[in-house]
Amino acid sequence: MDSDAKKMLRRLITAVAGISIVVVLGAAVLGTGSDAGTVLSIFSTRFLGIFIEAVPFLLLGTLVSGLIDSFISADDIARWVPRNPILATFVGTFMGFTFPVCECGVVPVVRRLFTKGLPMSVGVTFLLAAPVINPIVLVGTYVAFGVGPVLIGRFVLTAVVAMIVGLVFAFAGRPQEVLQAGSLMPVMGGDGTRAYDPHEVIPLYAKTKRKPLLIGLRDALKMAGDEFFEMGRYLIIGTLLAATMQTLVSQEVLLALGRGPVVSVITMQLLAFVLSVCSTVDAFLALAFAGTFTTGSILAFLVFGPMVDIKSTLMFLGVFKRRIVIYLIALPFLLTLLFGIWLNLNVTF
């Protein structure tokens, strides 16, 4: 595809996205029977609520991402991460304790690690596990549910699902087939938009010299600014969608959908996907459903939501190839569904 056609396509998609947002908002206004000003005010409050809550995590994530880029070399990672794909997958699952990021923050970190040559299985496992398996979420889930099936189940299931998906990627994908060119190491055929620059970036296959502290910090800040715009737009589009859904779809309708052992799990997974609530706080939201929904579905919500939701899907599209994004959604969805249904049918909580 030549560059003009791409430009046209991009404009077309932007226009379609813009028009559909306006149409959906219009439908929201007509649907509620309230005046446009009130609906817009509610929409704005909901949008800003999610944005204001999520953006500090995004910023912290981009800062961590920038710092990793400045101070962590490919050599360091090569030292930390075992070459054995199974061991590497295990390490990826628990790396969240060294990089505490939620699902908005994890994507830039993972992309940065990929450009540094991190093995595929570690990156994918980290991507799926880190939003849950980190100290902040551990504390949050404990406060909401105490020590019990939900807390333990959430962490065990997340680790298991993340490891399974990580292993699939370890054995079934070359980075070139999985990642967007911009997320690849230059030696693997990255298109250079990210890491390759003859004047500044030392090729990663060479011995990397650590940057001096101040220059490293300055570069990290510049990187974080760029990352904010890149990831911020996905966050904002996702938040616009989530706020629109919240203004349109009544919770009662969603609640009526989920009582059965199967339907409730699917419902909670879709709800997790649509609501896009940050993993650090979704436990408190799940608490509201704990009385009416099956425990398996609550767990599915807490395991699947941090892995995949509207905003992280939009972010995945910036890192992975589209075909791979489908796997990244489908595999965790099906595994979580399976575990959720199995728990509902076989375990009495």
């Binding site: 560059s3 791409k6 991009r10 509620t32 009130t38 817009l40 005010s41 509610i42 704005s44 409050t45 909901r46 800003l48 609520g49 999610i50 944005f51 204001i52 809550e53 953006v55 500090p56 995590f57 910023l59 912290l60 800062l63 909401a144 105490g146 070139q176 967007q180 060119a181 911009g182 690849l184 055929g189 990255g190 298109d191 250079g192 938009t193 620059d197 004047h199 220059i215 570069d219 800040l221 510049k222 760029d226 904010f228 715009f229 890149e230 911020g232 737009r233 904002i236 589009i237 919240q246 009544s250 009662e252 650090t280 706080v281 408190f284 939201l285 608490l287 509201a288 599209l317 910036g318």
Partner: protein, 294 residues
């Protein structure tokens, strides 16, 4: 000029077009160069450098604007319309980081030379600093909504039927709040601990909330409603105490009121619930913290 500064713009994130990038991985550097042979190249570049410069400044302005917006909502207290006060510190962090990144971007924009943009073409197609008008427009959406639409907490209109008359105890194991200090949430939690709602008869209450009424409600009844939220308005849910008050029709929807009275078990919307029989209702201003935090 220090080389690292020059490097700023090369660190461009890939553009949106990468979402649609069908380029073969084996030849990453070739497809991007075609425009170098464009006869209009020089003119093209000149145009784009002005564009890039404007974008860099807009980027800096947006980051500083975000920082200023966060400072604004913190100072005015509007922040409590959006998130749980427990997470206020996160917004302080956000304000600080935005301002830091904004100042940094100002330096980048000031020091950017034409040379940077020229160089940019070598490896970058037209992605430049990864910015496009579309991205800038999207990122400005929060600022536009935040500044143009008056900040208001969720109210009666946002309930649209989703109002609960029960509440889980949550992380509390015992219930110890003094009856006259209980808010709507405390009362509902307290009712949840009772084996028989009749035990709540004649308990005195002094609570605030906003008026919520549906057309199906009896004329002399309304709900004294509050929103509870754990994190932010995304997980807000409405709670309400049914109130009986002879002059209820005089109260406007969404009006904040302070209700003093006592409970008596009765029928409300077909459910048997403790109903607050009001002895006195005072109109009040919206409280500083419009939401309750479970």
């Amino acid at each position: 000029m220090p080389p690292a500064i020059t490097g700023a713009i090369y660190h461009a994130p890939p553009d949106t077009r990468q979402l649609f990038n069908e380029r073969l991985q084996g030849q990453p550097m070739q497809a991007t160069h075609s425009h170098h042979h464009d006869p209009d190249h020089a003119k093209h570049d000149l145009h784009n450098h002005t564009r890039d410069r404007v974008m860099l400044w807009l980027k800096a302005a947006l980051l500083l604007g975000m920082g200023a917006y966060f400072v604004y909502i913190i100072v005015t207290g509007n922040l409590t319309n959006y998130i749980n006060v427990r997470f206020t510190w996160l917004s302080y962090v956000a304000a600080a980081i935005f301002l830091l990144l904004g100042v940094c971007s100002v330096f980048v924009a000031m020091r950017a030379t034409d040379d940077d943009f020229h160089h940019d073409h070598d490896g970058h197609d037209h992605s430049h600093s990864g910015l496009s008008w579309g991205v800038l427009a999207i990122v400005s959406v929060p600022l536009i909504l935040g500044t143009l639409i008056p900040s208001r907490p969720l109210g009666a209109t946002a309930i649209s039927g989703n109002l609960s008359t029960s509440a889980a105890l949550g992380s509390l194991s015992t219930f110890t709040v003094n009856p006259l200090d209980r808010n709507v949430l405390d009362w509902l939690r307290y009712f949840g601990t009772l084996e028989d709602y009749a035990d709540a008869n004649d308990e005195r209450a002094d609570v605030i909330g906003f008026v919520y009424r549906e057309p199906s409600f009896p004329e002399n009844q309304f709900m004294l409603a509050r929103f509870t939220l754990s994190c932010c308005v995304a997980d807000a849910s409405a709670l309400g105490l049914p109130v009986y008050w002879e002059n209820a029709p005089d109260l406007e929807q969404d009006q904040w009121v302070r209700v003093q009275g006592s409970f008596r078990v009765g029928e409300f919307r077909g459910d048997t619930l403790p109903i607050l029989h009001a002895q006195d209702i005072a109109l009040i201003e919206q409280p500083e913290h419009p939401y309750l935090y479970p």
